[in-house]
């Protein structure tokens, strides 16, 4: 049996890490050291994470189907303007390393985050005691990788600002960029609002 802060009646500060002994007074408590609000678990963690994950999953579709940029030149429209189109462009032009980076960061990472967070949400709602260490590792993975999806937004932003060589060539932002940016932000909000200690609560209650 593992001793936990919850069982000992202590509150861990999410900002500075101090263990606080809660005062008997009612109301929301604040950390004695850094004054951050104290909660036993992140408030509304499951509901919030679900909301962000569902929204991200819906927007993932237009983010990938709509063009992120519109590139035009004297030679006409470029077909490689969606995310996958950009990956294919890098691949066929011989930059396979860049193709892999963009494919992983823009398509694999958001999809993985959504799938893993759904798995974590479902298992903690069902109060599963299945492989808590591995599920915590999965959480650490999705919390870390999410930010790298922004890379496509930055590539687009720089391309749009730099390629203004009218009438020969120009790149303009496409509607997919908004959806794509929203997916990145929503998946990051989702992993921020999920509380990994929910994975461990059923394990600890079983041992009680």
């Amino acid at each position: 049996m593992t001793a936990t802060a919850t069982r000992a009646g202590l509150l861990h500060c999410g900002a500075c890490g101090l263990l606080n002994r809660p005062a008997p007074a009612a109301g929301r408590m604040h950390c004695a050291r850094c004054e951050a609000p104290l909660d036993r678990r992140k408030p509304g963690s499951v509901a919030r994470t679900w909301a962000y994950v569902v929204a991200a999953a819906i927007l993932y579709v237009p983010a990938n189907l709509l063009p992120v940029i519109h590139s035009g030149s004297l030679l006409g429209k470029n077909p490689h303007d969606t995310i996958l189109g950009g990956v294919i462009y890098f691949w066929t032009s011989g930059s396979w390393a860049l193709a892999i980076i963009v494919f992983v960061a823009s398509m694999v990472v958001p999809a993985t985050k959504i799938v893993v967070l759904v798995l974590l949400l479902v298992t903690s709602q069902r109060r599963s005691r299945w492989r808590p260490v591995d599920r915590t590792r999965l959480y650490r993975l999705v919390a870390y990788i999410g930010r790298w999806s922004m890379v496509d937004i930055y590539i687009g932003a720089i391309s749009v600002a730099l390629v203004q060589l009218r009438p020969f060539a120009s790149i303009e932002p496409g509607p997919g960029a908004i959806y794509f940016g929203a997916v990145v932000i929503l998946t990051m909000l989702a992993s921020e609002s999920f509380d990994p200690r929910l994975i461990w609560d059923p394990v600890d209650e079983k041992n009680e």
Binding site: T2, A3, T4, A5, A8, L10, H12, G14, A15, C16, G17, L18, L19, R33, C34, E35, A36, F90, S93, S95, L98, I101, P132, V133, T136, R137, Y139, R140, R147, W148, M150, V151, D152, I153, Y154, I155, G156, A157, I158, S159, V160, A161, L162, V163, Q164, L165, F168, A169, P173, A177, I178, G181, I185, M188, P196, R197, I199, W200, D201, D204
Partner: protein, 205 residues
């Protein structure tokens, strides 16, 4: 108010309660149950973090004042700064994406840098700054949303990609950005909240 301490720590990821072990310099303590890193012993944390932050602040200035890259297509030239990308997105009908780039690549990294210097410089000079706790919580909240390292990767990929269209020259800001990313990562690696509270307690007593 005194800064309380406790010989116990709880894992932020699995709630397991454990004794704080004494660490050898450079050592780290991982949670006994789920393996999350609880903390790391960082000698002279405040000095080192502050040194990297101040150097990073100088480079960030260069990263914003000079062009990131310049393009030359048979006499047609164009160049863009970091803020130029935000302006271009807004002017071409995507202000929301412009705001996203502005926040994650410019505003929030500056805020994080400024708040960290605001905490650490006074502590180094021997006094506790007003609003230390507020600045600390601000840094904790903002840090996830600053993405300059991702911006650097994006700039490098854009550089390769756009070289297919025309000749692209790296600007001073691209080098400055690369240096900034490494210095900020170094500052982050030496940053240790325990050192801040310890220092503030010593100064207050």
């Amino acid at each position: 108010m005194p800064y309380p301490t406790s010989p116990l720590v709880a894992c932020p990821q699995c709630d397991a309660l454990q004794l704080e072990p004494a660490l050898v310099p450079g050592g780290s303590a991982d949670c006994v149950r789920c393996g999350a890193e609880l903390y790391r012993h960082k000698p002279r944390s405040i000095d080192r973090t502050l040194a990297f932050l101040l150097a990073a602040a100088i480079l960030f200035l260069f990263a914003n004042l000079y062009p990131l890259m310049e393009m030359d297509a048979r006499g047609l030239r164009s160049a863009t700064t970091l803020f130029g990308t935000v302006r271009a997105l807004s002017e071409q009908g995507m202000p929301s994406v412009g705001v996203l780039v502005f926040a994650t690549a410019l505003a929030l990294p500056v805020l994080e840098l400024a708040a960290m210097i605001y905490m650490l410089l006074p502590l180094r000079l021997g006094f506790v700054p007003a609003g230390l706790r507020f600045a600390f919580r601000l840094v904790e909240r903002v840090r996830v949303w600053g993405m300059v390292e991702v911006l650097l990767l994006g700039a490098l990929i854009a550089f390769v990609k756009l070289n297919d269209i025309a000749v692209v020259h790296p600007g001073i800001a691209l080098y400055a950005l690369a240096g900034f990313v490494f210095l900020l990562a170094a500052a982050d690696a030496w940053y240790e909240p325990r050192a801040i509270w310890h220092c503030a307690r010593e100064l207050a007593s």
